[in-house]
Symmetry: C2
Subunit: 348 residues, 2 copies
């Protein structure tokens, strides 16, 4: 297992954690209050497959319940997908979240990379990707969109082009949209019946409830049926199931979050770009990839931790090195603390 | 997925659910209060592998932390074990919990049964089992102890005899002790380093918290290392991790539970045996297997549900039929309601 998931040192209550990409506006009071109430129900088993909560998601997304599967966090669904689909050759678009590779390798798959580079701002050239697909002949391509840790978003037309190429090659697409809620209405959800596509969605990052573990996946009925066959019963706990109806319909929280992010992302990108020793990459979501021009991100991490600020170094992402780091966008007060610390650091 | 995990009808708050084997004394107020507090922490990721909670279990059981793995309920560990160990031939001692078979088959294993019979009160004849093992040559034997749904407990000497036979044959033992806390100090835990043995333990049944999903497994360092390699990160939620230290050291709750069970089990066995149309099997844990002499358990289930009482029919267990049913032992007031209903039913 890796070391990530936020700062876990003893003094974690005093450390500003920019290493995890969690919405700073939540969880909402309503969600927490309802979870408190649901503690009265923990002497019962949770619903075995979460059918009632699935219904709420289906209604909200206007799709059939048979296109949805719940996960003990989106991460359970990555491993479940790898296991159930049993692909032999997988092409992962890198740098990206490391767990795809681990999941497919554990399931016995042969993993290849299509690496994106900083000189092209980590954007995909569809022709190069197509060439790579023709030369590697993958059963499945994996894309995280918006991509963690680069923050790049590939638009719907691009996704559909990629799906068309995949269809020609009889290849599947695993599309991780764990951060898509931070953009407005940009999911590829309406393509699940037309293409061999499985979409991952997370509810914990946008709604600030990573502690209770809840995500879901979207695919054709055939795909969902196959995944369900392989899933452990009672995968979701009572609180996760209870939270779904509350959060999935909380339009005011959604609106407030997108307003916060629009404002704060502009502010952070503008201010970070003033700092000479950092190269800042464009982002479309709630975190920002940066690169130190000279020093290593370990050194920066150490110096910031003395100021009780924690960042994510990125040396473990394929295609990045020990000069990269990632920061979450937080609320203005916290963001200013980070900016002040960065501005006054003596790093060479 | 199966249909079990308790009564889930709309009027579930009014129905006495004897179908799930949950301790009626819990969850304790202390546990619920601490879980309420831990809701302040759900905006953070849970610890990725639950190392701090594992330390509490290790201290309590006086074993090394490297012998312990946590699970999103013991059920996650059944599937993880099947997947990670990748056994080809598995011998399951039946009738028993159905998920072992599903887990091993999904992992590509070939499953055989050693079926126990009511005429011998579902007790294992070690010589017959040995013959079966020699004729089937399993990589792994699966035993639930005390066994669900028969309530039979196989003592430590028996388990060690079985392990010796397994060792001769180079076979593994999966020993599910999910209900062992309902007996005092009877785990096979001190054998994990001497034999190829993996023990499953549940914390949700004894401590009445099935809603938050928490179990653990015990094995040699080598086995635990292998299972950890295959486990999804962040499998346990924040509340499950938080509950472990509270419950694992709650000696007064343990004592109270064992006192309740001793008293109530005697009472229930004595009273049930007075009912002519039921055959009652001896039990060593917190549930009782019964068999109707003439009628079907579906009919009994229907009739009882009219009295707002729900029981578990057992037609889906290998070796049982539609005359069997299982009831949990609850508190005196609820037990009397069940007994009264059974005594007045007109079932032929």
């Amino acid at each position: 297992m890796n070391k990530h998931g936020g700062y876990i040192g003893e003094e974690k209550d005093e450390v500003l954690d920019f290493s995890v990409n969690i919405n700073p506006l939540g969880p909402s009071e309503k969600v927490v209050n309802n979870l408190k109430e649901s503690l009265n129900d923990i002497h019962r088993y949770p619903e075995i497959d979460g059918a009632k909560s699935i219904k709420h998601i289906a209604d909200q997304l206007k799709i059939t319940e048979n296109s949805i599967i719940l996960g003990n966090g989106a991460i359970q669904l990555i491993y479940l997908f790898a296991r159930a689909m049993n692909f032999k050759k997988i092409l992962i678009i890198q740098p990206t979240f490391n767990e795809y590779e681990r999941a497919f390798k554990l399931a016995g798959g042969d993993v290849e990379y299509h690496i994106l580079y900083p000189k092209s701002n980590f954007i995909i050239d569809i022709n190069k990707l197509k060439d790579k697909m023709y030369s590697t002949n993958p059963d499945c391509v994996v894309l995280c969109n918006p991509n963690n840790p680069t923050g790049v978003y590939f638009d719907k037309d691009f996704i559909e082009d990629l799906l068309k190429i995949s269809k020609e090659m009889n290849s599947f697409l695993l599309l991780d949209e764990s951060f898509v809620d931070f953009l407005e209405k940009k999911s590829a959800i309406d393509l699940i019946d037309e293409y061999d596509l499985f979409i991952l969605r997370s509810l914990t990052k946008f709604y600030s409830i990573p502690g209770i573990r809840v995500g879901f996946g979207l695919g054709s009925e055939k795909v969902i049926k196959r995944l369900s066959k392989y899933q452990e019963p009672w995968s979701l706990n009572t609180l996760a199931l209870k939270a779904i109806p509350d959060i999935i319909n909380d339009h005011s929280f959604n609106k407030k979050t997108l307003e916060w992010l629009y404002e704060e992302r502009q502010f952070m990108l503008y201010e970070l770009k003033k700092i000479r020793y950092i190269k800042v990459f464009q982002t479309y979501t709630n975190f920002i990839l940066c690169r130190l021009r000279k020093s290593s991100s370990y050194k920066l991490q150490d110096l910031l931790l003395k100021e009780k600020i924690y960042i994510r170094t990125c040396e473990d992402f394929n295609g990045l090195d020990n000069k990269y780091f990632r920061i979450a966008i937080k609320n203005r007060e916290d963001n200013i603390k980070l900016l002040n610390a960065l501005q006054t650091l003596d790093i060479n």
